[in-house]
């Protein structure tokens, strides 16, 4: 029985127990359904952190943000679907469809007449590969704690965007763990050091610098245990890269061919770049459009890249997706979220179950309460998550080659067997079997190694358990 199956069974049991409470029944049913739905990932962060831009760059089209008159943004779910469709969920009325269409890689939607306080959320169905098995939630900037609790309620996992560690951000990440079960199954969030191209004021090495910063955040004491990973991403560049057009390529080519000195003076400031005083053979409106698409740093980077030989749309696009950090982010989303889809889903379900048991306690539910506690503490998937978080945050340290291997074996770089066993290519069942037997033997030794501390041996036992799981999986095949 997988963790998700067990969570499902427990929800069912609770449904039976609470059949006389309409509120609990409603809630539990909703969560039973939710278990079968795609993973929900909320994109959160302070205002202007770049959330909507990042959603666009992940989807590869211009679908965010949705805003109503007055510019206020609406909480929007982007769900995979065959055809574009949008449903508004008013605060006090049943959901209804609003006109929505896809034109030139953009979402066009009619929200006229709606006020932000009337709308709970909008759900957009959108045909995009990214959204297969993953629902993205674009949230309005968290200036209020309300959005925070909303996110922890709605989402299975969180991409948290921040430009620099601000006390508000840490407060928000902590609030995500403000739940007994959330603490036991700690990490379901990735911190995105967003708008990475602006680090260093848009210096040409901004992205490199941003990557270093992100690396430091991974072990930053303030963020310890609050996120699974920290990745620097420039949503703007990523989006521009993914949606780069031939036309833009031509204009950028013109810029790249301009004499270096002329280009440099033109790029001293955004004002100069779009102003009339520069001797660039490009219409100022075109320059403004390019600037808005790429940003100052982006223009500098792209012209340099073109001069280095990335002269086709495909080549430049791919380079931008990589450099922007988007590729790395997608990989991390796969490792931390989609690969652990079942665990995260089960986690949400157990969280929801705990809420019912806490809000409406009754003697008959006592057995379920202890079963829930036992499951959360003993479930091996949660143990793996806890170990990963501990290794990540430096709460548990292992001597050098061991740390990396432990991380890998418990699924830190992917939960598929080859990833866990360190194969970067397809491997035969035989090879896998040898590798896992070897690992199991060595880690069993570590689990008994008295040169290690108790915490370290406990970590080793979790690794052993992961290896045993893999052996079982292999023999089943």
């Amino acid at each position: 029985m997988t963790l998700a199956d067990r969570a499902h069974a427990m929800l069912r049991e609770a449904l039976d127990l609470y059949r006389d409470s309409p509120r609990a029944t409603n809630w539990l049913r909703h969560h039973v359904d939710r278990l079968a739905e795609p993973l929900r990932v909320a994109v959160a962060g302070q205002p202007e952190a770049g959330k909507s831009t990042l959603v666009n760059s992940l989807v590869g089209e211009e679908i965010a943000p949705l805003s109503v008159e007055g510019g206020r943004q609406i909480l929007t779910w982007y769900r995979g679907g065959m055809n574009p469709r949008a449903q508004v969920y008013p605060v006090q009325a049943p959901p209804r469809d609003v006109p929505a269409a896809r034109m030139g890689g953009r979402l066009h939607i009619d929200l006229e007449g709606w006020r932000s306080d009337q709308l709970d959320r909008v759900i957009v169905d959108w045909p995009a590969r990214t959204l297969r098995g993953l629902t993205l939630i674009d949230t309005p900037g968290i200036d209020s704690s309300e959005v925070g609790s909303r996110i922890s309620l709605d989402a299975d996992a969180v991409l948290y965007l921040m430009r620099q560690p601000h006390s508000t951000d840490v407060g928000f990440l902590q609030s995500l763990q403000d739940h007994p079960i959330a603490r036991e199954a700690p990490v379901n969030s990735i911190v995105v050091l967003s708008r990475a191209d602006e680090v260093g004021g848009g210096r040409i090495d901004a992205l490199t610098s941003a990557k270093q910063l992100a690396r430091r955040y991974r072990t930053d004491v303030g963020l310890t245990g609050l996120c699974q990973n920290a990745i620097a991403v420039s949503g703007l560049l990523a989006h521009a890269g993914r949606t780069l057009t031939e036309e833009e390529m031509v204009s950028l080519g013109v810029l790249a061919q301009a004499p270096r000195r002329q280009l440099e003076t033109a790029m001293v400031s955004a004002d100069r770049f779009v102003g009339d005083g520069v001797p660039l053979r490009l219409d100022s409106r075109v320059r403004l459009a390019l600037l808005e698409r790429f940003g100052m740093f982006g223009i500098r980077l792209v012209t340099t890249l073109i001069r280095q030989g990335f002269t086709t749309v495909d080549a430049l696009s791919a380079e931008l997706v990589t450099r922007s950090g988007l590729a790395e982010l997608r990989e991390s989303i796969r490792q931390c979220f989609t690969d652990r889809h079942d665990v995260l889903k089960a986690r949400s379900a157990l969280l929801a179950l705990e809420v019912v048991l806490r809000m409406e306690p009754r003697p008959a539910a006592r057995r379920l309460v202890s079963a829930l506690e036992a499951l959360v503490v003993s479930a091996h998937d949660f143990r793996e998550l806890r170990l990963l978080a501990a290794l990540h945050g430096g709460r548990t340290t292992l001597p050098d080659p061991l740390a990396d291997e432990a991380r890998r074996l418990v699924g830190g770089v992917g939960t598929a067997l080859p990833a866990r066993l360190g194969f970067e290519r397809e491997a035969s069942g035989h090879e896998l079997h040898d590798a896992v037997s070897d690992a199991l033997r060595r880690w069993q030794e570590q689990a008994e190694n008295h040169a290690l501390g108790t915490g370290q041996r406990r970590a080793a036992r979790v690794v052993v358990r992961s290896c045993e799981g893999m052996v079982a999986q292999l023999t089943r095949i």
Partner: protein, 613 residues
């Protein structure tokens, strides 16, 4: 800039006198801590220098802005958390730099050579790097020959606020506490966020001259919109703060090439103009503003406890003396009320007592007469008279003794009752009861008159209670009373001796009747004389008791009355003291209120002068 940049502050400035008066008030109210703070600030205000901290959240470009303003890389610039300790940039003839270890400020205004900060000179082009790796209790000081600085400007680069490592903000707030003006840095890549607005609100309340500098406009195409939105946000928050958009990178690039046009584009031309207009040429207003903020804070702190004291003095609990006075008066009234009662009580009780005692006496004597009659019904007096005389004497003496004991007992009871009536809670002082009474104990001589004696036992039980003690004291009075004459019943007096014997037996009856008569007369005599004596004694005791209790009451009354007078005097003194104190506090509050008005007038000089008086 030359002459006009030197700030001349004349000693008679109104802000200075307000500040000095505030300091004096702080000292008057024993708030040397406040006074110390104000004095420190006073000396800073008198210096011809204007301290301008450059504050803001992480990575907004604070350090780069200072560098760009003075065209030198004196502050460390970086992509991560960079500035951990303040850097002060002032004017000097030659470029100089030093790392200065801050003096711990725990001691109170101690001045001495040991407290001189240690100062390590460092090369100017290395100060940024060295500050980066120093400890937070060390700050950097840089001197540069710059026109802007020569005019008195002191720029202070500070560690970021609202970032995750909160430890370093202390030095930023310290810089804010002595700021003449503040530059709040926010970059144009985003609008002012909630925490920045909160910070601005706090800062403007501490320091009236605040300018928001919008940096990094070189990388933000839509910076004009951001500036506009920021202005709107500031206005909505009720903050009258200028927003100056700049680009430090453009300024530095312009400086490298000496490009005037580019320099103007960087926005630093505007910023320098703003600084010289709002800060440098505004020294007096700044001093006024700073004084107003500081002095208002201080007076508020002084007035707070005073108003509490005042309300307490006016409406607070009664003083102790007042309470005591009330209690004494109450006791005096109570005593008076009781006094009128005990006298009637005494006479009533004694009247009852006398009639009871008389009744008892009559009852007893009657029984004796009956026995005598029965005796002489058969006995021949001629033969039995002597024996009879003996018996009668004994019977009467017994009667007198029992009856008298009862009288004493009753008086004891009465005395106790009166004592209870007179006595207040604290009872009659021990000495009132004991005084002059125990003296008689030794010399107590019960009357011995013939067979009749007041038995010792009558007095034995008298010592335990107050009433007993009292009666014991009266023992002499009682003992000295003339009780009864000896019964002189000589046979000869009653019957002619010889003749009797010669009478015929027929005469026996007459003899018996005569004996009966004689016995009865004798008993009646006894009844009369003893009864009178007993009554007299009772009256006498009554008088003595009355006098005694009168004295006791008088003494009590005068004691309590004296207490009351003392308490009254104390209460009056207390009241006067309270009145004096509350007047004093009120006057103090008024004085401070006047000072407060003068303080407020500093920042609103348009107000008519009369109001400040």
């Amino acid at each position: 800039m030359g002459e006009h940049g030197t700030l001349v502050r004349v000693r008679t400035q109104p802000w200075l006198s307000v500040l000095d008066d505030t300091i004096a008030a702080c000292i008057t109210h024993h708030r040397t801590d406040l006074a110390g703070r104000l004095e420190t600030r006073r000396s800073l205000l008198l210096e011809p220098k204007l301290r301008v901290p450059v504050i803001g959240e992480l990575n907004q470009g604070k350090s780069q802005l200072v560098n760009a303003l003075v065209n030198a890389n004196v502050c460390a610039v970086g992509d991560d958390v960079t500035t951990i300790t303040p850097t002060t940039v002032t004017h000097s003839q030659k470029p100089v730099a030093a790392l200065v270890a801050d003096v711990p400020t725990s001691g109170r205004r101690a001045i001495g050579p040991s407290n001189e900060p240690t100062r390590i000179p460092v090369p100017v082009d290395e100060v940024a790097r060295r500050a980066l790796v120093s400890t937070p209790d060390v700050h950097a000081e840089v001197g540069l020959p710059r026109e802007l600085l020569a005019a008195g400007l002191v720029l202070i680069d500070t560690p970021a606020l609202n970032s995750t490592g909160a430890l370093r903000t202390a030095s930023t707030f310290a810089a804010l506490a002595t700021a003449d003006a503040v530059l709040m840095i926010t970059d144009a890549t985003g609008e002012l966020c909630a925490s920045e607005l909160d910070l601005l609100k706090e800062v403007t309340s501490l320091c009236p001259v605040v300018t928001v500098v919008l940096t990094k406009i070189d990388i933000v195409p839509r910076w004009r919109k951001v500036a506009e939105r920021n202005r709107a946000r500031l206005a909505a928050a009720g903050l009258r703060v200028k927003v100056v958009p700049v680009s430090a990178s453009v300024r530095l690039a312009a400086a490298q090439t000496g490009d005037k046009q580019l320099n103007e584009e960087s926005g630093f031309g505007d910023l320098v103009r703003t600084l010289s207009q709002d800060v440098l040429k505004n020294g007096d207003a700044i001093a006024r503003g700073a004084t107003a903020v500081l002095a208002a804070q201080a007076t508020k702190e002084l007035i707070g406890p005073l108003t509490t004291a005042l309300t307490e003095a006016r409406t607070g609990e009664q003083g102790r003396a007042q309470t005591l006075y009330r209690a004494a008066q109450h006791r005096l009234d109570e005593l008076r009320r009781r006094t009128t009662r005990w006298q009637t009580m005494l006479s009533d009780e004694v009247a009852d007592l006398i009639s009871d005692v008389e009744y008892d006496l009559r009852d007893r004597t009657r029984k004796i007469i009956r026995s005598a009659d029965e005796f002489f019904d058969s006995a021949d007096p001629a033969k039995t008279w002597d024996d009879f005389g003996e018996w009668l004497r004994e019977a009467l003496a017994d009667t007198a003794e029992v009856n008298f004991a009862w009288l004493v007992e009753r008086f004891q009871w009465v005395a106790e009752k009166i004592a209870r009536q007179v006595a207040l809670e604290e009872a009659i002082p021990e000495d009132v009861a004991a005084e002059g009474m125990l003296d008689h104990v030794g010399g107590l001589e019960p009357p011995r008159i013939e067979k009749f004696t007041i038995g010792q036992q009558v007095f034995v039980g008298l010592r335990g209670s107050y009433g007993g003690l009292l009666m014991f004291g009266l023992a002499t009075t009682i003992a000295g009373m003339p009780l009864i004459n000896p019964i002189s019943l000589s046979a000869g007096a009653a019957f002619g001796a010889k003749s009797i014997w010669d009478e015929r037996s027929g005469r026996l009856k007459r003899r018996q009747a005569l004996a009966k008569q004689t016995a009865q007369r004798h008993v009646d005599d006894f009844f009369l004389s003893y009864g009178k004596a007993s009554k007299d004694t009772a009256r006498q005791v009554q008088r003595k008791l009355r006098d005694h209790f009168q004295a006791v009451v008088e003494r009590l009354q005068s004691g309590i009355a004296e207490q009351a007078t003392v308490a009254k005097r104390a209460a009056e003194a207390e009241l006067a003291e309270r009145r004096r104190r509350s007047q004093e506090i009120a006057a103090e509050v008024d004085r401070l209120a006047v000072l407060h008005k003068r303080i407020q007038a500093l920042v609103a000089p348009a107000a008519p002068r009369e109001l400040t008086a």
